[in-house]
Amino acid sequence: MKRFAYRIRIELEDYLFFASMEKGKVAETAPLIHNYALAYALSWAISPYYQEKQAPGYEKQLKPLNEEGVYIFPASPLEVTHRLMQYNTTSEPLWMMRPQSLGYPNWGFIKCLRPGSRFETYALSHNPLSFPPRIRLGKWMSQARLEVEEVALERGTGKSSPIMVNVQDLPRLPATFTSMYNLLPTRLVKEAEWGEAVEGYRIKKMEGQQVEEEFLPESAFWWR
């Protein structure tokens, strides 16, 4: 049961990169921020510095958050611009020579998000939360600034939600949606609709002078 809702605006202050799609020599960053990434960035979920095996521990690290009664949705873009940049690597010896191929790329292109890009998302909680003013995101641990505003929340049901949701975290699969991002570790969909009303929360937020209402479906980390 959630009693508090927060609207969170995220603004990038450096280039953000994570590989959502790899197309030959180009690694692309999708215009969104996955909610699991946000859970780690906010240090809700904690992973050790050293990983013995390169295998994710999402379920183990995220599920305890459900008992604490906190949840954050994936962040949708408000304004996003991309930039393509080249990278190449150099070896250390003074005499530079390239032996046989390494089997992984040592040069290529990265399509990343530019500083100034902005995102929005919601966090729900049973107890009042406080947020850090800055977080770090992505492969490069790039800085981003947070602006957080508490919004009114009440329990309710709804048939559709305009925000981006994580399919893995929903108790009931939506019947339709507009866009789907098929990226690791889970799928994200936008503007989901359900055949019949599902449990969730109605939040009221100020949009300029007007009050707008939005429906957020009940979600929990790694529900399915």
């Binding site: 202050e13 450096d14 280039y15 240090s43 904690i46 992973s47 050790p48 510095y49 050293y50 990983q51 013995e52 095996k53 390169q54 930039r83 940049m85 080249q86 990278y87 690597t89 070896s91 250390e92 390494l102 992984y104 040592n106 530019r114 500083p115 100034g116 850090p132 003013p133 800055r134 770090r136 490069w140 641990m141 790039s142 800085q143 600034r145």
Partner: protein, 325 residues
């Protein structure tokens, strides 16, 4: 008081101990120490990822003056890579990490792997970096500090004068360009922090063709101790821009900047930000910082103290590796 200098007894270690963990934690504790560095280029330099043109980004000029300008970038990897290499050369000189090879096989045991992180390319294992950086943004706009330099390789034989075999143009930044940047070490022990600081203070060349150009003076302006990060490089540069413009007028950027004024502006921004911070920040700057850096100099120049420090660096990391097993 005796004249012997020791790492264990040094005020440098005492100052660091007050904030940093005594042993490397397995899980993050988020104890931060940020090094605020004003990077001053003393020669022309090539900061590009695409070859011909400088890396430039359009951002807001300041926080108060908000019209957009194009700024030259010092990408984060172009800051950290040369510094890591300085550290790795230092390790090799001490007989450490000889088998640790960038790209092909990181050893996972040397100070470089454990502090700056690694991902094994053969076998398993990965370590997150405990050094955080951001891309650096120049204070003045691109137009004011860019120059295209032509390279023209002329045939050396007696025929001479035949050009065209290699003829190209490349954008360089002019000398005396400043990048205010912050490097933050997280959950490092005092000995490990000194390793990071050594890399920052001893690296002098950044950017492409660094065997010929790209000489940089890294001026440490402040150390910030706390449980969070105070400010990003972009905000810092924007804050500095506001202050310099307020003082120097709209056309302040047409001539090279004065270092002392830039440093003062950096301190102003940091102090203002420290006041606004929710969590306490311990700022070490000015005379206190000068004394701290003098203490560091004494340590490194003294053979015994230096050895003592390196011994502790090794025992800190050995203890950590033993904990992981």
């Amino acid at each position: 008081m005796s004249n012997t200098i020791s790492w264990q007894e040094s005020p440098v270690k005492k100052r660091l101990e007050a904030h940093l963990p005594g042993e490397i934690p397995i899980l993050p504790m988020r104890r931060y120490v940020s090094v605020v560095i004003l990077r001053e280029f003393d020669s022309t330099a090539v900061l590009t990822t695409e070859g011909q043109t400088l890396d430039v980004e359009m951002v807001r000029s300041g926080r108060k003056y908000s019209e957009p300008i194009s700024r030259v970038l010092l990408q984060k990897r172009k800051q950290i890579a040369p510094e890591r290499r300085a550290g790795r050369a230092f390790n090799r000189d001490r007989g450490l990490g000889k088998k640790c090879v960038f790209l092909n096989g990181m050893c996972g045991k040397c100070p470089d792997c454990l502090i700056y992180g690694f991902a094994a390319t053969s076998g398993e294992g990965a370590h997150r970096s405990r050094v955080l950086t951001d891309s650096g943004f120049a204070i003045r706009p691109y137009e004011a500090m860019q120059r295209s330099i032509t390279l023209n390789a002329i045939d050396d034989s007696t025929k001479g004068g035949v050009s065209g075999s290699a003829f190209a143009e490349r954008e360089h930044i002019r000398p005396q360009v400043f990048f205010p940047t912050i490097e933050t070490a997280v959950d490092v022990t005092p000995a490990e922090f000194l390793y990071v600081l050594r890399n920052i203070l001893t690296t002098t060349r950044y950017g492409a063709e660094s065997n010929r150009q790209g000489f940089v003076n890294n001026h440490v302006v402040a150390l910030l101790f706390g449980h969070g990060e105070l400010i990003s490089n972009l905000s810092l540069t924007q804050g500095v821009y506001d202050r310099l413009r307020e003082k120097g007028g709209e056309r302040f950027h047409e001539f090279p900047l004065e270092r002392s004024e830039v440093e003062k502006a950096v301190m102003d921004v940091l102090e203002e930000e420290a006041k606004r911070s929710y969590l306490p920040v311990d700022v070490c700057a000015g005379e206190e910082l000068a004394a701290f850096l003098a203490g560091v100099r004494d340590l490194w120049r003294n053979e015994e103290a230096n050895a003592e420090w390196l011994q502790e660096l090794e025992s800190d990391q050995q203890a950590y590796l033993a904990k992981l097993k």
